[in-house]
């Protein structure tokens, strides 16, 4: 089975408690992901939406994604091309939404060590992802069960359901 991965990904460093209202501001929720994307994180990191590039990763503090059930808060990061989010912990609801939308979340107790602008790669040891820093250090993340990685690898639950229907 192929596993979603990234190489030499550029880091956007955020703090703890990044909430869904910051990721997908309510005022733009009536619009699609393109418009939400222009305003993603504007309340906490004004240069993010204009500066983010395909393949970048977010490294954040604890409790990433607290707040609302709005899955646009996960969808917008895929729309903007983020390869993954790396944080010590997530809101449980955000965690489910992210995998359902094919966004890879890495639960990494040592995420705090990673700095803004660093380059990271992902290495898999079975079901256990390891974040590899430019200095060669491996940060071991929590294992991700196969049924969740199936969703990431398919691009989300909807494409997975389609594949299964056709298969």
């Amino acid at each position: 089975m192929k596993k979603s991965t990234f190489q030499n990904a550029r880091v956007w460093r955020l703090g703890a408690d990044v909430d869904t209202d910051a990721l997908a501001p309510g005022a733009y929720m009536k619009h699609g992901l393109e418009v939400i994307g222009w305003h993603c994180l504007e309340a906490v990191r004004a240069d993010f939406a204009s500066g983010v590039r395909e393949g970048d990763v977010i490294v954040a503090g604890a409790n990433f994604g607290i707040g609302s059930s709005r899955e646009q808060a996960a969808g917008v990061l895929r729309h903007l091309g983020l390869a993954a989010v790396i944080a010590p912990s997530y809101s449980g609801l955000y965690f489910r939404n992210a995998f359902n939308l094919g966004l890879l979340l890495l639960t990494c107790a040592e995420a705090e060590k990673i700095e803004e602008g660093e380059r990271l790669s992902l290495h898999w040891d079975g079901e256990t992802p390891q974040v590899v820093r430019a200095n060669g250090q491996h940060l071991v993340c929590a294992p991700i069960p196969g049924f969740l990685m199936d969703m990431v690898d398919a691009g989300g639950l909807l494409p997975l359901l389609k594949q299964r229907k056709q298969g």
């Binding site: 408690d17 909430d19 209202d21 910051a22 501001p25 309510g26 005022a27 929720m29 009536k30 619009h31 504007e42 309340a43 906490v44 604890a62 409790n63 607290i66 707040g67 609302s68 059930s69 709005r70 899955e71 996960a74 912990s89 809101s91 449980g92 609801l93 965690f95 489910r96 939404n97 359902n100 939308l101 069960p145 049924f147 989300g156 639950l157 909807l158 359901l161 389609k162 229907k165």
Partner: protein, 428 residues
Amino acid sequence: MSANIFPPQTLAQKLIARAAGRSHVAVGEVVTCQVDLAMFHDSSGPRRLKPMLDELGAEIWDKNKVVLVLDHYVPAQDTDAQKIIQITRDTAKQWQLPHVIDSEGICHVVLPERGHLKPGMFCVGGDSHSPTGGAFACYMFGIGATEMLGVCVTGQIWVQVPRTLRMHWSGRLQAGVSAKDMMLHMIGRFGMNGGQYQAVEFAGSAVQALSMAERMTLSNMSAEMGAQAGLIAADATTTAHLQSIGVSPERLAEAKQWFTDEDAEFEQHRFDASSLSPQVAAPHSPANTRDVAEFADVAPSIAYIGACTGAKLEDLRAAASVLKGQRVASGVQLMVAPASAREQAQATQEGVMQILQDAGATVLPNSCGACAGYGATFQDGATVISSTARNFKGRMGPASVNVYLASPYTVAASALRGRISDAREVLA
């Protein structure tokens, strides 16, 4: 087969075991549950679900088990919101949904108001405050639209059986102190992810003494504690309330089996309700909580009583008990958005709405309003004291808006005095 071969179970385990068709489940295992009820609203519902269902060529597994509520974009503020409402209504007709509640109140309040929730059920909602259903001894939690698609197609969802964090409240709340204060206190202590996506259960004499509306406030804000579910065992208060809204006694015959076995494994935290002061959460986090006395210097320009969390009938009564025969301080704008049309009608009949209007309140529609931040919000630089659930930066208006969260008692007392105030002084 004797009953004692199974280990004792928490309420969460019992509810999940039933939905998974099992006699018991172990903490940590991942199980697939049959969904008894799925609720979604105008933002999370048809506008997101229909394109995905159409793409799959699939249909809703059981329309009788679906409740659609229009509450986030009503009344429509602009043509984009109008479009969302139109798609929602057209889709409801096309799908022939039997349970649609349109512009009559907020989903978490109208769902139990219409008798949809009964102890023992396993439910999902397309909204983060779905743990509100836990007040009725239902295992209910919030999910996103794509996961709701999965439920709509299969009628099933996976859960990892949670640990239980039991919040045991002894004693009794003082007059002017409420469930909202209990919840802000707990969120302040454990943090916004202190629930670790496990099950929180509220218990003890102070919880048993609460009405269903107050219990709903506890379960509702389990979301702000990061719990998956916020449960309260079914008791005589639960069954009496459900009978009063027309649920037949036969449907409630087995309600009282939904409790945590005393010898089950759970993590217990103890609190004393008698010594609890009114609590206020400062900008920009519900976990930023301290006693009301520490905010005496804050002068709100807006006092907002709204949302599923803080504008139920009992919340309106609480505000009226503080404001009766008085007017709010000059410079303070009091806004009241009753959580449902039925509750507002009852409040009108009781004279509660008149008291609030005589005090200077502007009455707003029965919808999520400023709390969701989807439509009309507060203006630049406003200082707001609010009975709602979240005060994230930028949620209820521009990033310059400062929102303090408190109980309806505290919001009313603060509106009256023009400073954040302790309602116990006004009620004394």
